[in-house]
Amino acid sequence: MVTGVRTATNTVRRRMPIDLRLLILTQWLSPAYPLGAFAFSHGLEAACADGQVHDSRGLEAWLRSVLETGSGWGDAVWIAVAARGERPLTEVEALAEAFAASSERLRETRQQGAAFARITSDIWTVELQACVLPVALGEAARVLSLDVEAVIALYLQGLVTNLVAAGQRLMPLGQTAAQAIVAGLSPLCAEIAARAVLCDETDVYSNAYASDIAAMRHEIMESRVFQS
């Protein structure tokens, strides 16, 4: 967190337009931006039902793995690849979709990406096609010349915030404990952003096998609150 935000703030003092760009970014990645993220648990609901996650320590550890070696890392790299604009967007999207671990994961990122593209295109001077969220976000960041490292860090923090909010509905987890998890994982979000911004599609991987399996097992849950 520290690196990305400090860079932006320093620049703000010199030039006004950056200030606006930072505000655009926080608007896009705020939970209030209507992407419908609250409907998805990224497999966490199944992990809670199977007893793999049941308290705040367990949730923080689970999310740390998702960020470091799972879909969080993959999404970070896809934002960077799309923002670089070196390959046609349809190619980047096809590659990102091929890495989807399960059908619900694919729906989760496609639905949010479609909502992001629709709303963002209506408001700003950017024409986005419906595609998976990290790719849509990377493309929008490229068109509006936003700081990609900051985009990634805020995206990852948004992912954590959303999944912690999901956790609050799935287990006894108070507001303070929930925010402590977000704060505890924020340095990791910044650190991953700094690494991912230099990476390309050959650096995408997922070692978060149990998280990916939980996403698959969510499909066979009999009663569920979330769509993934």
Partner: protein
């Protein structure tokens, strides 16, 4: 006895099948170095058991395999036994696999387990190119140290990448990259949850949707399956060790292997 003086294993194998009437026959076959193959009889396709005669993988080894299921034929590839990735004195072992399935063909890629040993450095790349109507069954089982033998992985490098393309477009990709203390990493709940073995399974074909339910019924609580595309079925399984993983894989792969002739997994899996 220096590390540099160790001989390095090199091996290559090329094999293709073709349709002859209603059966499949070997079209081309060539091997080099430490790669060999056996051809047990199989009614519904060409089956080959690939053998790495070097006895295992270590730093500097280079293996490559290129298999092609020609139009309308079926090619089933497996290995004679588990492949072992041993401690590397220097450098990485590299394994490259290219698989192709032409129109109306079916490719079954069914290697037995990869066993990682302490100190291993292994990078594998598998690329499959499928025609629009080709079928494929793929499995990649990995054992993270044989716990029963007291083997614990504290310093390993393992990079594995699977790319399945269809008609030149990406269809299903899977990559993992584990470095350092794999034992600690596999303990993490979202990674391995304490498992010592893992496998991924992919089935591509119009039967995929119909196979989802029967496959799920064969998976333990530590496994899951999903239809990522209308005709692409993927599954991933964690197990405490290689033995437990086999208990899941044998019936699951049997179910995914069989077609109208009723032949299941290659016989080498049962030996």
């Amino acid at each position: 006895m220096t590390a540099a003086a160790q001989p390095r294993a090199m091996g290559a194998l090329m094999l293709s099948s073709k349709a002859r009437g209603t059966v499949s026959a070997i079209d081309g076959f060539r091997t080099q170095g430490c790669m060999k193959a056996l051809f047990p009889r199989r009614r519904d396709g060409v089956e080959a058991i690939v053998i790495n005669t070097s006895g295992g993988l270590t730093g500097g080894d280079r293996l490559s395999l290129h298999g092609t299921a020609g139009a309308g034929s079926r090619l089933v590839l497996t290995t004679q036994a588990a492949e072992r990735a041993y401690r590397s004195a220097s450098g990485w072992a590299r394994v490259e696999t290219r698989l192709e399935a032409a129109t109306g063909a079916r490719f079954d890629w069914l290697p037995q387990e990869l066993i990682l040993f302490e100190g291993a450095r292994l990078q594998r790349m598998l690329r499959a190119d499928l025609a629009a109507d080709a079928r494929m069954l793929l499995v990649e089982p990995v054992i993270f140290g044989r716990h029963a033998m007291g083997e614990v992985l504290r310093d390993v490098g393992f990079r594995d990448r699977i790319e399945i393309w269809r008609g030149g477009a990406p269809l299903y990709f899977d990559a993992l990259r584990m470095e350092g203390d794999l034992q600690a990493q596999m303990t993490r709940a979202a990674v391995g949850g304490g498992a010592g073995a893992m496998a991924c399974i992919v089935y591509v074909g119009p039967e995929a949707e119909g196979l989802l339910r029967p496959l799920r019924a064969l998976l333990p609580e530590t496994g899951g399956a999903s239809l990522v595309r209308p005709d692409v079925l993927v599954a991933r399984v964690l197990a405490c060790d290689g033995y437990a993983l086999r208990q899941t894989l044998l019936p699951a792969l049997d179910r995914l292997c069989e077609d109208r002739t009723g032949e299941g997994l290659p016989i080498s899996w049962r030996l």
